[in-house]
Every structure is written in structure tokens, then in C-alpha cells.
């Protein structure tokens, strides 16, 4: 098929001043260095979806919804009348909030003990439970 409007953007290929001289030696290549004001590096900026995605937007419910259970200090699910157990969090936490909590802050709106219990619950999350992928993505190295 005719590539009617074919125009190849070949980038800045240097002019090849080859061809060899009488002795068969290839002569030197010319390096085109451009100009002071012409940048020669482009950094890949992620599309918005990537920048905004992952940690910031993922959510972890504590505990999974529809459970009706409470959470003890070790992060285990227990019946609501267990002494010392904490009620389910009324709101889900973002990956960013959990990330900061893992570094020492309390989860928003919680006391020290409650935050610790919730974090223990989160640490115990298994594949298949709501919030696991979010928590796992916090653990993955960024590179």
C-alpha cells in the first residue's frame, strides 16, 4: 500500500561522513551538537492516571465491609462484645493515610491504641480481602 504521507521522523541522526579514503580507513563521523538553547533531553512525564493513581487513591476498609465484627488490639476480628475491642472504622482509609500511619502517625480520627489495632488488622490482610491490593502496593518498591 502506498505510504502516501510517509515522512519518517528519524530523530537527530548525525550526518555520516563515511565512505573511506584511499587506504580503506573510515573517516570520522560528524557530531552535531546543536545549540545552547536547544535541549536534547526529554523526560517522560507519566500521564495523569499514573501520577494520581496507586497509593493516593486506593482505599482500605477496616475491616472488610459487611462483617459486623470488632477488632482487637492484635488486629484480629472478634465479636462486638469482646472487652477492649474497637468498632469498625466508619470510613475507609486511603493508601496515603496508611502509609503515613506505618511511619508513626495515627490513622486520622483514631487514638493511639485504636490506630495500632487497625494497623495490625491491615498488616494481616490476605490476598482476596478488600484492601489487600492497596496495602500490597504500599509495600512494593517504587522502582
Amino acid at each position: 500500500m502506498m505510504d502516501a504521507n510517509e515522512d519518517s521522523h528519524g530523530g537527530n541522526k548525525s550526518a555520516c561522513s563515511d565512505g573511506g579514503d584511499a587506504l580503506g580507513k573510515t573517516s570520522r563521523r560528524t557530531l552535531l551538537i546543536g545549540a545552547v538553547a536547544t535541549s536534547a533531553v526529554v523526560s517522560i512525564r507519566p500521564a495523569l492516571a499514573q501520577a494520581a493513581g496507586s497509593v493516593l487513591n486506593c482505599m482500605i476498609p477496616v475491616p472488610e465491609h459487611g462483617n459486623g465484627k470488632f477488632i482487637d488490639a492484635a488486629g484480629k476480628l472478634v465479636s462486638p462484645d469482646t472487652p477492649g475491642a474497637f468498632p469498625p472504622s466508619p470510613r475507609d482509609f486511603t493508601g496515603e493515610e496508611v502509609h503515613q500511619a506505618l511511619q508513626g502517625r495515627n490513622l486520622p480520627g483514631t487514638s493511639r491504641e485504636q490506630s495500632r489495632a487497625y494497623l495490625n488488622y491491615i498488616r494481616k490482610l490476605q490476598n482476596g480481602q478488600s484492601g489487600f491490593t492497596c496495602y500490597a502496593s504500599l509495600q512494593m518498591p517504587r522502582r
Binding site: 541522526k13 570520522r28 557530531l31 552535531l32 546543536g34 536534547a40 526529554v42 523526560s43 522502582r143
Partner: protein
Amino acid sequence: MLGPRNMVAARYAALPAAALKRVQVGGLEAIYHLPSGITHLLAEPVPDLLDALARLGPGRFADAAEVLQLIADRFDIEGDDPAEPHEAVLAERLAELAALGLIAISPDK
């Protein structure tokens, strides 16, 4: 130590080879900078500048004039604007590379 011009030319060195991953992609070079996880695309003459510093050895610093010398040993140099000294053009490219963390810059002495 300051010389009479009050300005010391910046000096640059290659990063350890393991810090960069370089792949030719069409007419440009794609480069993955492991420490930052950022990908850049490089056009001529930048890959050749990286090569020149890499041949010097990681941690061996050179200023723009020295880099020009290294390059001129291998290539005929041609700039877009005859009024711009080649050293000035390379100085700009090297500063750009350093700002992105793709080469090391020597701290002022």
C-alpha cells in the same frame, strides 16, 4: 579556591554504570535512571557525552573544555550556530544532564 575570574568551571563525572540503563530507540536513546525510576529520551550529542564521561571512568571529573577535547578526538564537531563556541554548547548540555541526575557534578571547591 577562586581564580581571577571568580568563576570555576563546573566539573562532571559519569555515574557508576549500574545506575543507568541505555537503549537505542529509533533515532534517540532511551535511558532509565535507576535511582529515580525516571525515563528520559536523549538526542544527539547527549549519548556521546555520556559515553565520553563513561570512558573516563565513573568518579573522574572533567569540565566542559575537557569533555570537548575528548569528543573532538573522535568526531568532527558541528554546531547549529557558528557564533556559539562549542564549549558553551557542551557546557549547557552537561549542566542539563547534571540537573536531571544523569551525571555527577563536582561540588564547588
